[in-house]
Symmetry: C2
Subunit: 221 residues, 2 copies
């Protein structure tokens, strides 16, 4: 992903680091810190202070020389940039194991991503309630997405169904998809996709263990 | 993460793309393709052919001019590079919702990551069997890790426990950690960590939706 802000290109990696800074600031605030230096933020994330300052500079001048950043201010600014200073209505597609774990995944809810309904095409599951969320028939997605003001869909279905489900989501005017299916899905311009591939992350570990002699510094992703 | 192979630095992003190529090759082979071009591999992953050739060139000359790559050969070579041409014994720490979903997550098993035991410090859970895997007492991790030849640990515990658990894993000689806890954990040189933060991925979507006018191309992570 690349976006432009103030005429600069914002890389996917920068957005990912903003999410990490947000968490670090929350952690710092909860522990009573009211100001924080770029070096402290860097240390909390295994980065350099220069990287932190560069990332934040894309969005404005938040810091004060010699003082650092006001923790609460910076946290609020990053929340606004990331669009997490509001709530987002989310549809979860797939009521299997991963789907059911995600329903109860506090982190989504805490960051304002509210799962409003679960959809499945297995009629044995439709009508069930998991952690207070009703499983609805995927055939009704277009009507339900409109009614529930769904902005983001999470796909937790087997690979072979993922693309046709995505096509249907796009017809239903959903423009942002978090994909847990182990397949690259094709979407038209203007639709945003993030892939969650848990097996890919663990493969970075087997790579590191396998090429251990050649790995020259601790990884941290 | 950066590693060196043939004197070149291998970035985290390259390793991640190798995992994707591996999946694309499996998909292609299953559909009867026996050779594949860098352009085809690129198209399947929203990349350029030049990127694909560059990534693969770090590890040797697998392609043949005008013919492309032999699908099975390249898949085998990438499996070897990623260390997934073998099995790895894995310990899962935390038998909560995410942990229990991971136990039954086929993708880990299919790639050779075998969860041999689940550990928890909640005595109400110790002794339970989930999907055929016994929950053991985390207090016994050092002895069990040795006995079960554990090489990789997956951490699915609340943030406040993550660091002390990691410290104990390192004492137990585990050198690779896949962390689902929403916190940056500190590890000494020579220990490899990958962080799975599902909320970070969804924040890239709220960022894209929020800064939509400034996003100039479809993201794909």
């Amino acid at each position: 992903m690349e976006t432009t802000t103030n005429g600069n290109k914002i890389s996917d990696a920068t957005v990912r680091r903003l999410s990490k800074y947000y968490r670090s600031l929350k952690y710092a605030y909860d522990r009573g810190m009211r100001t924080i230096s770029s070096q402290e933020l860097a240390d909390m994330n295994n980065l350099t202070a220069a990287q932190v300052r560069k990332d934040l500079s894309f969005f404005g001048a938040f810091g004060r020389r010699g003082l650092g950043y006001y923790v609460a201010d910076l946290q609020r600014n990053i929340a606004r940039i990331l669009g997490i200073n509001r709530t987002w209505n989310v549809a979860l597609i797939g009521a299997g194991n991963i789907g059911r774990a995600l329903i109860d995944f506090d982190q989504f809810r805490q960051q304002g991503f509210i799962i409003k309904a679960v959809f499945d095409n297995d009629m044995a599951k439709v009508g069930n309630i998991y952690h207070g969320i009703e499983v609805k028939n995927f055939a009704d997605i277009e009507e339900e997405a409109k009614k529930l003001k769904i902005k983001i869909a999470i796909i937790a279905v087997p690979a072979q169904y993922a693309q046709s489900i995505v096509d249907r989501l796009i017809e239903s005017k959903i423009r942002a998809i978090l994909n847990f299916a182990p397949i690259t899905i094709q979407v038209p311009e203007g639709v945003f996709v993030r892939n969650e591939n848990m097996a890919i992350e663990i493969e970075a570990l087997s790579f590191a263990l396998t090429n251990r002699r050649e790995v020259y510094r601790t990884i941290s992703g």
